[in-house]
Amino acid sequence: MMKTVFKRTPTLKDCPTHYCPGCGHGIAHRLIAEIIDELDIRDRTIGIAPVGCAVLAYDYLDVDMVEVAHGRPPAVATGMKRTNPDKIIFSYQGDGDLASIGAAEILHAGHRGEQITVVFINNAVYGMTGGQMAPTTMLDQVTATTPKGRSAAEQGYPLQVSELLATLPGTIYIERCALSSVAQIRKTKKAIKHAFDLQLEGADGMSMVEVLSPCPTYWRMSPTKAMEWLENNMTKVFPLGRLKG
């Protein structure tokens, strides 16, 4: 007797992936799809894809989705949620999108306490454009635009956006998670689900889950090595855990 122990969740489309081997986006997409199905909110959810590797997130997530200008998802989400308070609005943003070009938009959406859910994928590089330095790039990390490694004197320290946003009265829940192991992936799912739950309850403010995610291609590592590097190095600068709420 055969028994199905693992299957595709309906909101995740049945299609080949464009992501690199060992990339974290596929896992994060799946977690969001599972949460949407478990909460049974597909028919009232609108997702916002960023500019970056996840620009085609709508090719994988079978919900109404929009793709917007680089860094602007929190402003677009504001326009959507204010005019549609009954809908569940989430943005999915990378570190270049959220922490660099869209720093003003995420800060002010949090500051205004917009009732939206933000999934922030931090992989410490710009993946789509060829592995350039991101605001979250680690010190000494070699990227396409820091050939000698990031130096604090030249390029500043890695930007801790979650810590920054947690200081705002308008944010109600901020947690940092990682996709570095099965246990951490489970914790990540729990955190993202909580962020959706808060919006469903109509909680008064913005929720964000920062997800440390591997980029083996531009970290120049094997997928396994990338998971280890994430767990051993990235979490030192970006400590895991609940920062607020």
Binding site: M65, V66, V68, G79, T83
Partner: protein, 348 residues
């Protein structure tokens, strides 16, 4: 009412669901008015952190099928160009009011028509058009708003209402009434949550070979339709005129006075006033140039619309220009002098 408040109330009557904006002179009466009136109507007002955010809030509301607008003035409109390009690529309706001031840079806060190029040439990156309306009185500004929302929804385009500091600040009596709008197509593309249907996607990225070319050509067909159906233009005593003065917006009001005085002096003068700046009344101006007459273009800039007039005249007649940039406003006397000189009338 002042123009800024009148356009805001007219937008509310036209069914504007949401207003997003950032303070900038000389249009500050718009957000101030909206901050009071929109909540009274149970609608949305948000003061954004920047013009970039404002236009993207419009993008978000519009993507869900709502009628959304923003207003700003020249430097702020420059910041919105990114968003207008994305709105155009994603074929989302939007209404943007530009109460123009002097530029470039921070310029000044005096009335100007220096953003004509930016408004009519798209302004942002990529192959796209926006419909541009150039009202010349507060009443016409009021009448532009429901038309702008209807055009935006009908063609899924950005419609820009190009006013200036005078029109925004000027007080004139207006009639504000709900008129029957156009029959509009259903917004079956809107993001409303995929209840009982396939997912909707609003996007402007088309990577596969030929996909973007296909979108560009689809947009072109739409723009051709707009050019065919939506040109608005007013003209006065052109038939027997030796000289035709072309102007839009506030400049056209001053031109009207100068042309009337020229007629009193026995000069055969007339005027043409484009109301839609894109689509431009190329046909009307071209027809007027079929008989030899002088064209004088008057603008509150150093010459922008004059290029469109030349393109319409195609060398059939001389096209001359008189303008005052940087917040300068031409007077009736200045324009009359130009008319006299060009028609070889001695100074009186």
């Amino acid at each position: 009412m002042c123009g800024n408040e009148a356009l805001a109330e007219s937008a509310i009557i036209a069914g504007c669901d949401a207003y997003f904006g950032y303070p900038i002179t000389p249009q500050n009466e718009v957000p101030a008015y909206m901050s009071r009136r929109m909540p009274e109507e149970g609608r949305v007002f948000v003061q954004s952190e920047s013009e970039l955010a404002a236009i993207n809030m419009v993008f978000g509301a519009s993507a869900t099928g709502k009628r959304a607008m923003t207003s700003s003035s020249s430097p702020g409109i420059s910041l919105m160009q990114e968003g207008i390009s994305y709105l155009s690529g994603a074929e989302l309706p939007a209404v943007v009011v530009n109460v123009m001031r002097g530029g470039p840079g921070l310029g000044n806060i005096a009335p100007s028509q220096a953003d004509y190029f930016q408004a009519t040439r798209g302004g942002g990156h990529g192959d796209y058009r926006t419909i541009v309306l150039g009202p010349s009185s507060v009443q016409e500004l009021v009448d532009c708003m429901p038309l702008a929302f209807d055009l935006a929804d009908q063609y899924r385009m950005t419609v820009m209402v190009l006013a200036d500091g005078i029109l925004g600040q000027m007080m004139e009596p207006v009639v504000l009434e709900k008129k029957k709008g156009r029959e509009l197509p259903p917004k079956d593309w809107a993001l409303t949550g995929a209840a009982g249907r396939k997912q909707n996607i609003v996007r402007s990225l088309w990577l596969p070979e030929g996909a973007l070319e296909e979108l560009n050509n689809k947009l072109l067909d739409k723009y051709k339709q707009v050019e065919k159906s939506e040109v608005l233009c007013e003209e006065y005593e052109v038939d027997d005129a030796d000289i035709v003065v072309v102007a839009y917006g506030v400049a056209a009001r001053i031109v009207r006075g100068a042309v009337s005085r020229a007629r009193e002096e026995g000069i055969k003068a007339g005027w043409i006033r484009p109301i839609t700046l894109w689509p431009f009344p190329t046909g009307q101006i071209s027809r007027a140039a079929d008989e030899f007459r002088i064209f004088l273009v008057v603008e509150m800039s150093n010459g922008q619309m004059v290029e469109d007039v030349r393109l319409a005249v195609t060398g059939k007649a001389p096209v001359l220009f008189y303008g005052r940039p940087g917040g300068g406003v031409p007077t009736v006397d200045e324009i009359l002098d130009q008319i006299r000189q060009l028609t070889l009338r001695p100074k009186t």
